[in-house]
């Protein structure tokens, strides 16, 4: 039995090694930090989530979309119904046709998905010096070691590129970005937001908070998933224990 388990474990390790190895393929080691949602008992830190939302709203959302998240979802972040309506109404979305057959613009509603800052990719590129700010709905899942990658990237800017590195016009040097030439202006610095809850807004704090928010945007089910997972596994261990005892009972006369 032990051999069996060991072998299964080995098989899984082998299976997982390939993607995992690939994941760390970037040349630079990412910054280390702990996230509240790591591990079996990990959950989102609600205060960080709310601060992270503030950062996203004040900084990121000027260029980046969040098209898979709906405004109504912000209730989980801690916004009340009126605040959600207010945020949703900040941007306009096309609707229609009306009775005259015309399409028209109306303010966003709570049931709408986040309205992206640009009408389409081409408009986004045109406004951003040819670079496309990616939609952030799934960014933490769509990059190897996503949370740590985004966390590092936000703090990975260098004032000047290392010697010998040719930095194209209008680009910035970032240690963690593949190829190091990134089109995004350094988005955050110490005190680039003023937190409503009085937390000191260091660059590191801001990065950590916004990564928390982005992880929630990518995995809003995480809290439910982990709490259900614990209950399920405990239940299964009990059931498996019972079945093992029954198996021993039934088999005890077979030699």
């Amino acid at each position: 039995m032990r051999k069996l388990i060991l072998t299964v474990a080995a098989a899984v390790l082998v299976a997982g090694a390939a993607p995992a190895a690939q994941a760390s393929g970037g040349s630079v080691e990412l910054l280390k930090t702990d996230f509240s949602w790591d591990g079996l008992f990990g959950r989102y830190d609600r205060a960080a989530l709310k601060r992270g939302y503030q950062v996203f709203h004040e900084v990121c959302s000027n260029c980046h979309g969040l098209r898979l998240v709906a405004y109504r979802n912000l209730a989980y972040v801690g916004l009340n119904e009126d605040q959600i309506k207010e945020v949703a109404a900040e941007r306009e979305v096309q609707d229609g046709p009306n009775d005259e057959g015309q399409m028209f613009m109306r303010a966003g509603r709570a049931a709408d998905k986040f309205i992206s800052p640009f009408a389409n990719d081409n408009a986004a590129r045109a406004a951003n010096n040819g670079a496309l700010p990616p939609d952030l709905s799934l960014i933490n899942k769509a990059r190897p070691n996503g949370p740590h990658y985004v966390y590092s990237l936000l703090q990975g800017y260098e004032e000047t590129a290392p010697e010998g590195h040719a930095l194209p016009e209008g680009m910035y040097y970032n240690k963690y970005f593949p190829g190091h030439n990134i089109g995004m202006v350094p988005p955050i610095a110490d005190d680039s937001v003023t937190y409503a809850d009085g937390t000191k807004a260091t660059q590191q704090q801001i990065a950590h908070d916004v990564v928390t928010f982005l992880n929630w945007a990518a995995e809003p089910e995480l809290d439910d998933r982990k709490s259900m997972g614990l209950k399920t596994l405990i239940f299964l261990l009990v059931l498996t224990g019972l079945m093992y005892a029954l198996k021993r009972q039934i088999w005890k006369d077979v030699h």
Partner: protein
């Protein structure tokens, strides 16, 4: 069934009891677990979060003249909004005393007598009754007429004749201002 193979054995009563207990306990826990595991499948067929979020509809009443009707969509179903004339209101209240299949006072079916708001789905088998457009047949009671199986509704949306069992239901709604309502 589970122990038939061991019947031939001179098993001690103690062992037998212990095994029976284990068998029942395991079966019970296993059955409960299987039942719980099926719930996510069933629940996934209930309305999703985005479907629920969209289940309110705002209607602007400003442009509707007395005697006119509009049809709006709420939860994928037509909702009839009729601005009733004084005559229609009078007929509706007068018929409160008539013999009704599904007795209900007109006053209980409206928030403002001028505005009648009902779900436009025949309570018989789900067709949409006629009577919204000026040229439509409105049935014998001046309300709506369902062409599928001939149900007649009056100017309060109550069933008066035909196979339908109940009145056209009134959806939950509220006046958000004098000229707008929110359904749902």
């Amino acid at each position: 069934m589970a122990d038939q193979a061991l019947h031939a054995q001179p098993a001690s009563t103690d062992g037998q009891t212990r095994r029976d207990f284990l068998l029942y306990a395991t079966t019970a826990v296993g059955v409960v677990g299987t039942g719980l595991a099926l719930w996510p499948f069933v629940h996934s067929m209930n309305p999703a979060a985005d479907t629920l979020a969209l289940s309110t509809t705002n209607v602007d009443l400003g442009a509707i003249q007395p005697g006119q009707s509009v049809t709006v969509v709420w939860r994928g179903k037509p909702v009839f909004v009729r601005r009733r004339t004084p005559d229609e209101i009078a007929t509706a209240t007068k018929d409160d005393g008539a013999e009704l299949r599904d007795p209900s006072k007109d006053a209980d079916r409206v928030k403002k007598p001028e505005w009648l708001i009902v779900v436009g789905v025949c309570t018989h088998l789900g067709c949409v009754p006629l009577g919204q457009k000026p040229a439509d047949p409105k049935g014998e009671f001046g309300g709506w007429f369902c062409p599928c199986h001939g149900s007649h509704y009056d100017t309060s949306g109550r069933i008066r004749k035909g196979p339908a069992p109940a009145n056209l239901p009134v959806p939950p709604y509220e006046f958000t201002s004098d000229t707008t309502i929110r359904i749902g």
